[in-house]
Structures are given as C-alpha cells and as structure tokens.
Symmetry: C2
Subunit: 174 residues, 2 copies
DNA sequence: CTACAAGTGTAGCACTCGCTACAAACGACT
DNA sequence: AGTCGTTTGTAGCGAGTGCTACACTTGTAG
C-alpha cells in the first residue's frame, strides 16, 4: 500500500481525533495498516504528520475554492459573509478544529505548522483581494482588514462568543 | 503543602510547556512535589488542569488590567493599539501561547476551556467598551468590531503574518 | 532460475502515562 | 499517653508510546 493510498483514511482520522497529539497505532489502524508501516513509509511520526498536514492543506484549499461563490459581493460586509458562510458549514467544522491546532502549534514555533498556516492565510487573502466589491475604494487594504475580521470572527465562534463577532460585523461600515 | 502554594510553580511550568498535554510527573516536579500529591490535592489530572486554568485566567486578567492604559484613545485604531501593544509584550507571550491552546480545546468542545475563554473575551470586551473614543458614534458595536479585529490580529501574528493584520488595521477608518 | 530490492507481519524494548495500594509520619485533641 | 484524621513517600500496575530487529513474502530484472 503506497503512502498516497494511506493518506486519505489517515486524514479522516486526524480530522476526527486531532493531529497534534495523534499516535501511530490508532492512526495506522484507521488506514488499515500497522505503525510499523507508517514508520516505513514516512520515516517517523513527524514525517507522517508533515505529510498529513500537506495533504490536508491541499484538501482544504481545493474544497474552499470550489465552495466559495464566483461573483463579487456588493459590499465588504457581504464579502466577509461569503467566507464565513462557507467555513461555518458543518462539514468544514473538522477542518476548523484542525485549524486551531495548527495555530496553537504555530504559536509555539513549529515551523511545519506555521508554513501551512501562513500558506492558508495567503490563499484566503488572494481570494479576498479578487472578490472585493467592484467599487471598493481600497481593495488591497480592505482585503487585509476583512481577513483580520474573518479570523477574529472564527475565533469568537470557536469559544462560544459568536454573538460578539456578529455585532461587530454589523458595526462595520459599508 | 497546600494547593495554593503549589499553583504558582505549576502555572509557571504550563506557561513554558503548554497545558493541554501536560503530564503529572513533570508538573509535580516543577512544584517540588510528586504526582501522587497532585492527585491527592486535585483529585485527578483534569482537576489539576481546571485549577490551573482558573488560576492562570485570574493571573492574566489582573496582569492585563494593570498593564492597560487608563485614558481613552482618540480614535478606534489607537484603542486597538492599546491592547495589541500590551499583549505583544514579550512577558505576555507565554500567556498568548496558552491562549491558542485554550481556543483549540474550546473548539473541540471542552467546556472548562470554553468557559475560561469566553470569560476572558468578556473581560476584554468590557475594557474596550469603557475605553472607546469619547466621540465614537457607536461605542457598543464599535467595541465588538475592535475585539474581533484584535483577535484576528493576534492570530495572524501567531502564524507569522502580522503584516496582514498591520495593513488591515491601517485600512480601518477612524 | 536466481538475485536483489521493496514491502509486510510479529515480537519486543525501553519508556511514560494516570492512578492506586499500603504504610508511615505528623500534628491536634482527649 | 493514646487516638485519629491529614499528609506524604515508595512501589507498582496496566496500558500506551515511538521505534527497531528479524524474518518472511512478493514482484521484478538479469
């Protein structure tokens, strides 16, 4: 069984059980193989995690790309909504839970996780810049403002204070 | 040795090594005692973590309160700056690393962590509402907008994209 | 057919984990 | 002096950890 065949079921496992503290034996079982084989294919535990992270990031970005609407919104608030509506979807919740693990690991200085996180932020920023309202006076700065707001909203949602982000968004001009 | 005496060195340990995956023996060693005694005082590992979390939240809130400036800023951007300047201080970095662990645990549904996180957001929101610019047209909504921005900025900082938050903040009106 | 590399199963090592059983020391009170 | 509840040390259990040694099969190339 090749690593490529292994990755999808492994990804499903970490999406359900978390990635930062995942251990080899349950991970291998989820992929129908043994810890012995994971080490063989990925070198060591960290290698497996790195491969998983790369695979999941790709999976997330393509999934996001296909879910986000094509047309631009007519104001900034709606542009934010376009992203939040997609990322709050139930089937993306496992990815969001993973996201917080990635952020936490990034904050401790883990370079693999940080690269992954920075790349995802880059992707989102690109999408935002390309989907700012037609008449926006400052698409470049505006996109960065909105990305900051989006991440803050997702955080407040994660800790059960979505109400704050909701009211904050309502107070955004335009 | 009472639990109250134990908590400060234990808190120092988790501030350095993380709290979500902390194990009893190193934690006990940091406090000059044994795993045996931690179980005795806190019942079990979760009890120790809960007590630590409560202690650390209090510590953080009082530290923040004393570090934040008294007087109001003259515009929203400066209000945000007041908080970001404090939380980006080197000596608060361990608390920020802990914060991401708390958020990640909250996202997985851990109620202890979520309560703690929600309380901290409440404290911050209260401070913001009380420190909005004098002439702000919508202090209530504005404070919520700024809290969302602040959390987003901290996240982007954690993943090494502080540049995005910086530019986003610059694009904020007022 | 043979030789060799890639892949895989079994067993196990040395370690850490949370937690407990048991017993001893200790101080306060009668 | 004796009794009793609180606190502490020692030892260890059963489970899980990452990883390795060794033997074996399998597919492929000469």
């Amino acid at each position: 069984m090749s690593p490529e065949t292994l990755l999808p079921p492994m990804a499903a496992h970490v999406l359900e059980h978390g990635i930062s503290g995942v251990s080899l034996r349950p991970l291998a079982k989820a992929a129908g193989t043994s810890d012995r084989m994971l080490i063989y294919h990925f070198g060591n535990r960290q290698g497996a995690i790195d491969a998983l992270l790369e695979y999941l990031a790709k999976l997330y970005e393509t999934g996001l790309d296909s879910s986000l609407p094509e047309q631009r919104a007519k104001n900034r608030r709606e542009t934010v909504r376009q992203i939040l509506d997609v990322t709050s979807t139930p089937q993306l919740q496992p990815f969001m839970r993973l996201w917080w693990e990635v952020v936490a690991a990034s904050a401790t200085g883990n370079e693999t996780f940080r690269r992954s996180a920075a790349a995802i932020m880059g992707t989102l920023l690109d999408w935002l810049e390309a989907h700012m309202p037609e008449d926006d006076p400052d698409p470049r700065g505006g996109a960065r403002l909105l990305l900051t707001l989006i991440e803050g909203s997702q955080l407040l949602d994660a800790v059960g204070r979505a109400d704050i982000a909701e009211a904050g968004l309502a107070a955004l001009e335009g």
